[in-house]
Amino acid sequence: MDFLYIENLTKVFGLGTKNEVVAVKDLTLGVKKGEIVALLGPSGCGKTTTLRCIAGLETPTSGRIYIDGEDVTNQPPSRRDIGMVFQFAVVYDSVSVYENIALPLKAKKISETEIRRKVKEVAEFFGLSNYLDRKPAGLDIATRQRIALARALAKEPRILLLDEPLTPLDPLSRVKLRVDIKRLQKEKISTVIYVTHDQSEAMTLADRVAIMRDGKLIQCSTPENVYLTPADTFVARFIGEPGMNLIESKLIVHQGDAFINVGDQSFKLCSEADLKVKKVEDLILGIRPEHIDITDQPADLQGTVTFVEIHGNRSLVHININGNDVVVKHPTVFSGKINEKVWIRLQRDRIVLFDRETGRNLELKEASEHA
């Protein structure tokens, strides 16, 4: 069993009333020791509720939570040995920064010298050594959040839970603190669950990204896997900036070859023998904007340029292909004109096929593979 194992977790608020809300639905997730897992999803998808259940601040409606093989589902937070940092930087203004960080250690009833040593160590890690004797009132939000992080970490918790800790910060200190969190996990080897709605945070920090939607876990895999082989069209569109292109198309097999039809256009995908999916006529073809090449030679599909965004020396080119808006990340400044007809070539090994009805990735067998 994994270090942290969440088994069929369901959390319903207002059970049996007309305001019943299912926040988390049948979620199963395993986290290994020393791993950072990011819970990613739009607001209201149940990621914070999941975190609060792990913390013990909420009682699951059903399902169990195990830490290090021990069932902690009904244990109070104080006995779970978990550290938590909230979006709202919680700092006790009435006592010094030192006292703030020492607070959880005092609850553990360890010796004064030991507390002093641990506080010093963790304060140094977060660059707070100069602040220890002063009171936190008047410190900026980034520093306050560092104090909160230091406090959560000082007691060397089994698991560190971070609930969008960087959201209230300005972009610059956000990047700085992000580096600190990554460094922390490397040096202190603590297991971290990180809730965020910011995909770049999740993709850069996490060993694995768990994407949630409407209380359900859609996919949990490495950032690379999530990016390249999304479990469904939701993940495909949610991850990436801009998200994956989704083109309504048809898969046709003809004389030993597999073809993709988009409207009245058609191109050869691969030979029938190489086809990895079972034959589904109606599907959605997914491809990332950087896996499409624009060419003036006849290629896979032809379309009209509708809009060009220049980003420094790169450009995002919007091309209308039989009514589908396809975005292409062009590596240089795009020289073509609006309304110009262009050809595009899709990198074959980057094409992902989704079922048009369910939106599921046709090549992935299981939705939440634990790879």
């Binding site: 009333t17 601040l57 937070p77 938590m84 607070l103 959880p104 007691k155």
Partner: protein, 278 residues
């Protein structure tokens, strides 16, 4: 610039009118209390006194009935307040926290029920209360009065305190729990100290209501448990109205509240606006 000047002038004039309108009766009461009997009935009346006449205050404090009334007012108000706060603090905490960690079935209806007690005019209660108190044998007792005053205090306290508790970021309490302390300690060490301004403001408002109550005292007491507001009426007899003594007693009765309210003004303003805005 000129515009701003006119605006400020209008605000000040209006403010002064309101202040005079509010404070003049109080000033007149105070003035009457330090006038000697001849000056009180003098026509036209004087707007000030050259030499304060303190005999009225000496009389008031030697008036056994008034002193006992005062003691009853203090005792019943404070007892009712303590019981009400003791019930309202956990109730409001629960109502504010419902849906976040704890579940309360029918939370909104419960809250509304509390408020409804405040909406009903006191006169709805007094006749049934009179009959009930008679048959229960708690008529004219401090205990009986305290029960009636809880009816005034409790809804008010729940209404105000729920607003206050809702305004405290729960993360602070949750963080304390995550730091390894039990929830009860988090409430005692974190949430309650943060709610203290609200609790103080609520207490003052409750005290003001019960302190100045006349209806319940008049209906539910007759001799032993009479409050100060009731005994004031003793100054109005068939043959005369003892204006000097009456006014001195009014000043004595209201001054503790005045001093109190003055010291906690900032809490009071916050407390009052809380309830209204929500």
């Amino acid at each position: 610039m000129a515009n701003k000047f006119i605006k400020l002038t209008v605000i000040y004039i209006f403010g002064i009118i309101v202040l005079v309108w509010l404070l003049f009766p109080f000033y007149w009461t105070f003035l009457t209390s330090i006038k000697d009997p001849k000056e009180i009935i003098r026509v036209p009346p004087l707007m000030w006194v050259s030499e304060p006449y303190i005999e009225n205050y000496i009389l008031a404090f030697s008036n056994e009935e008034f002193v006992r009334g005062l003691a009853n007012t203090v005792l019943s108000s404070i007892l009712a307040l303590l019981v009400s706060l003791g019930l309202a603090i956990p109730a409001s905490y629960g109502l504010a926290r419902a849906g976040r960690g704890i579940r309360i079935r029918g939370k909104d209806s419960l809250y509304f029920t509390f408020i409804t007690f405040r909406m009903l005019p006191v006169f709805v209660f007094i006749i049934p209360f009179y009959l009930l108190y008679r048959s229960l044998g708690i008529f004219d007792t401090i205990g009986g009065l305290v029960i009636a005053y809880i009816l005034i205090d409790l809804p008010l306290a729940v209404w105000f305190l729920t607003g206050f508790f809702e305004d405290i970021p729960w993360e602070i309490e949750d963080a304390y729990v995550m730091d390894g302390y039990p929830r009860t300690k988090a409430v005692m060490n974190i949430t309650l100290p943060m709610a203290l301004p609200g609790i103080v403001a609520t207490a003052i408002i409750c005290i003001i209501f019960t302190w100045s109550d006349l209806i319940f005292a008049l209906t539910l007491t007759s001799k032993f448990a009479k409050t100060a507001t009731y005994t004031l009426l003793g100054n109005i007899t068939f043959t005369q109205v003892k204006w000097g003594e009456l006014c001195a007693q009014i000043i004595i009765l209201s001054s503790p509240l005045l001093v109190f309210s003055f010291y906690i003004q900032k809490y009071l303003v916050r407390g009052l606006t809380f309830g209204v805005v929500r």
